[in-house]
Amino acid sequence: MSEQVVLERNDLNGLFTVLQGQGYTVIGPTLQDGAIVYDELTSDKDLPEGWTDEQDGGIYRLKKRSDKALFGYVVGPYTWKRFLDPPEKRLWQAKREGNDFRIIPENEPPPKYAFLGVRSCEIHALAIQDRVFLEGDYRNTSYEKRREAALIIGVQCVQAGGTCFCVSVNTGPRAESGFDLALTEILEEDRHYFVVETGTDQGAKIIDGLKVQPAKETEVAEADNRISHAAKNMGRKLNTEGVRDLLVQNHDHARWDEVANRCLSCANCTMVCPTCFCSTVEDVTDITGEHAERWQKQDSCFTMDFSYLHGGSVRASTRSQYRQWLTHKLATWIDQFDESGCTGCGRCITWCPVAIDLTEEVEAIRKSSSLESVVQSDKER
């Protein structure tokens, strides 16, 4: 990695100019309907200056900060996957031609996105989705094109959210790689600047167009300091030791019934999770039957259709649906992809309407693992 540089706050808008000059659509954090979401930005004025988010199970609130930080929040309800694999997309169309039909493929050129403000846990999520969509026999070609074209500008976390636990799963708060550029925002009494790390040549080319100075040792140390501060202030923690076996061996644990009493099967946890990749396809015809389309839509293991096989749903109860989600994320994902499916971003905790918290669920199962649950289910029999 090349030398770190410093970009003053007042020169940040140069970044937008350079990116736009290179044909990028800048996507980044902005205020919308009471939350900080990712959307198209035209300049640094669209950034959520002076705002932060307070998060806990089932609760998200915007709060005014006492300073003018631009990246002084954590993560919101939506993730970059929305832009790389849109929740609803047409895969192809078909037209009837006599007794035959013709397929019309989707040929739109991929959008060229510059993602600004990608957190370390999110960079890990991108890597996980790359693995899911790009490795193996069937590639998600539309994701592939968008991903290849995308520029990743990370932001190092200097504060942790109430539901964050990246430290427990080794995905943050410092992004070590996987970015083109990474900024650490520093606010001092009378100065506001960014320490910028370069991860790729593409990133270096962007730096060339910016008004920067080589970073002083003290500035780099200050950035490190702030990132360590975030590491010490995680809102949640998850003990991952042996978690795969713990979950796989406790399929009949009484805790699944208990959580099923609270869980709404609403699917919010899977919809906000940056690594969940499930989708369904819907074939639609129009009234005339001359025209058909196939759509891919983001789906979730919390629906009945998800596990519908001939004759019925395999996972019809909330209990089995919740168990599928948690077990897939933290256990069978490892069997499938050699790593965990959880990046510790905390979204599933914050955005669950009834505040179900996976770290708590795992702990509860751990505390009263196998033996007790066997006794419990024996009693039920």
Binding site: Q32, D33, G34, A35, V37, G58, I59, Y60, R61, L62, G76, P77, Y78, R82, P87, E88, N261, R262, C263, L264, S265, C266, A267, N268, M271, V272, E282, D283, V284, T285, D286, I287, T288, G289, K297, Q298, D299, S300, F302, T303, M304, D305, A316, S317, T318, T350, W351, C352, P353, V354
Partner: protein, 259 residues
Amino acid sequence: MTKIDKPKLAVWKFASCDGCQLSLLDCEDELLSVAEEIEIAHFPEATRQVLKGPYDLSLVEGSITTPQDAKRIQEVRRVSKTLITIGACATAGGIQALRNFQDVKEFVSIVYANPAYIDTLNQSTPIAEHVAVDFELRGCPINKTQLLEVISAFLAKRKPNTPAHSTCIECKRRGTVCVMVAGGTPCLGPITHAGCGAICPSYQRGCYGCFGPMENPNTSSMSEGWKKSGASDDEIKRVFRTFNAWADSFREESEKHDK
């Protein structure tokens, strides 16, 4: 498809506000194609022409609230090859099913000058309680895109895409910020059948449950949550007693809070 043997469509009205069948008229652009593929044989709201049955597809709007209608629906079923109910009245009894929780005779004596002229049943009930129904399309009112989907699916002899999962899935696909988590606004989305496209949350309001209960609604956990944030039993009861008050899970939950 040969246009000579176009399937015959009939639209029937029972106790309802007409909003759902108007959704069909509201399909202006598509209505011509509908008329090209289907013979509109009985649709008093749109045309006076009435063709004799039997009908290939009957769309039934409204609930059963009178002895006459209870008889008439049997007749409709007899002349219909496929019978699809449309809207909360037909699928759950509608807002008029609020009478089911009270004594109808009392209402009648208060509201009408000559109660003797009123011949009504004690309950407003969904069509499926009276005859076999082939498919139920939810909503108050139904979504016109879904209605076209159901008719197109009928013509293509395929299953319509009208998923029964939560409204939250539509809300999240659409990119709305959750009003319950980010604003503390009560929202029925998690236990409500999808179909509207999560319109209300996109205007920063909670979902009212127009499409009725989703496939596995955990109504008691919802109520529990609202209770914790200070809602009274009466408020919770009222939330469940709207257009789909008589749908099993909503009814049972409202009864738990009826003290």
